[in-house]
Symmetry: C2
Subunit: 223 residues, 2 copies
């Protein structure tokens, strides 16, 4: 009598196929220009059915965004499992974030949308919490590496690990965002390669956070 279990699976797979459809539409048109009618049509379902599975268009948007977060988490995890020296790991985190952006621009943009304040009002408590918790796991991964680096005396231990994680993470985020929106403009009008700028700012920040020992590691890595 595995009927209930099967139903559960079917429900889950329907949720997934709705996200598939939503993703297709959101990627093409962005949140404001995507319509629930189009998502429903793409999913080959009636509009009302969508609302049996998701509370609002914004919830659906976040459900798609979560897929992006999961990809990013997995990429970070993969770096951690390589058990590289701490300084190398931090550099790889930055490279990985950039790679994530390049391979998943649509998801990256969604992450950013999540930060606009007015957006949140249309989102259900539950979905919001779900996203926040997931986000947390990324912070934890970075913070853990930093803590480890301090223990190994590669990173200045007068800094707070969480604070350090925030600074590094924020730095990459903004510059990637700028690359996304204004790369050509900066290249053409000011002859600035923002990818170079990103690497430079990461390097400057990282360097200022390292101990002498850490700096030696970094120097060795750059040659």
């Amino acid at each position: 009598m595995g009927t209930i279990e099967r139903k559960e699976r079917e429900k889950e797979s329907r949720k997934e196929s709705i996200i598939d459809a939503a993703q297709k539409v959101f990627f093409e048109k962005g949140l404001p220009l995507s319509t629930m009618d189009e998502i429903a049509e793409t999913a080959e379902l009636a509009k009302g059915t969508l609302y049996l599975y998701y509370h609002s268009k914004e919830d659906l948007y976040l459900a798609v965004m979560m897929r992006g977060l999961m990809i990013l988490r997995d990429m970070f995890r993969e770096v951690v499992t390589r058990k590289l020296p701490v300084v190398k790991t931090l550099i790889e985190f930055a490279n990985t974030y950039t790679l994530f952006y390049e391979q998943n621009k649509n998801y990256f943009r969604m992450l950013h949308f999540f930060n606009t304040p007015q957006f949140h009002k249309q989102v259900s408590e539950k979905m919001m919490k779900s996203c926040d918790e997931f986000n947390q796991t990324l912070w934890v991964m970075v913070t853990e590496i930093i803590t480890q680096g301090m223990a190994e005396q590669k990173l200045r231990n007068d800094l707070d690990p969480i604070e350090t994680a925030i600074i590094l993470w924020s730095n990459s985020s903004t510059l990637l965002m700028r690359i996304d929106g204004q790369y050509e403009m900066f290249k053409d009008k000011l002859n600035i390669d923002l990818y170079k700028t990103l690497r430079l700012s990461n390097l400057l920040l990282l360097e200022s956070m390292l101990t002498e020992q850490g700096k030696n590691d970094l120097k060795a890595l750059l040659n």
Copy 2:
């Protein structure tokens, strides 16, 4: 026969009073929840009239945002006219940006909305160009100070002035954005004071960009 001139002035003042009304509504509800009907009512005009002066709701939004940009420009200008030593000026720029955020949170939020990619599609070319040009003036101000600092050998002259401006500006922007949206969360859950984090990251970055001479100036300023 100054009729034409007078009409021009009246038209301008009507545009301003429409922005007044729009500002009031946008500040209260944010872009998505503000309606043109409510703005019209606040302005004591018919909705159709708004469209005689602005192409779209988004154009109106940007018109309000420009006021914020002007405030920020004037604050920066004021710092420049004080003709402080370069290192001090850079620190004051950072403080000024923070002050701008604190005194004009509503405007600050609008600046960030401007960066979301889908937003742009509803905006008229003309308004977009107008904003971009204005934005440019802020970049120029920061870049000029940095160039001056390099000439005075306070800032490492192997760095590109524009690149340096981008990095410093971006760093403050993200952290202020995070302060705006997540200050309480970071304070309560992680015991992190993001204002402190902002100051720290500015300091770390600035330090990594200074020459020995510049570092001495900085040290003197911090005591």
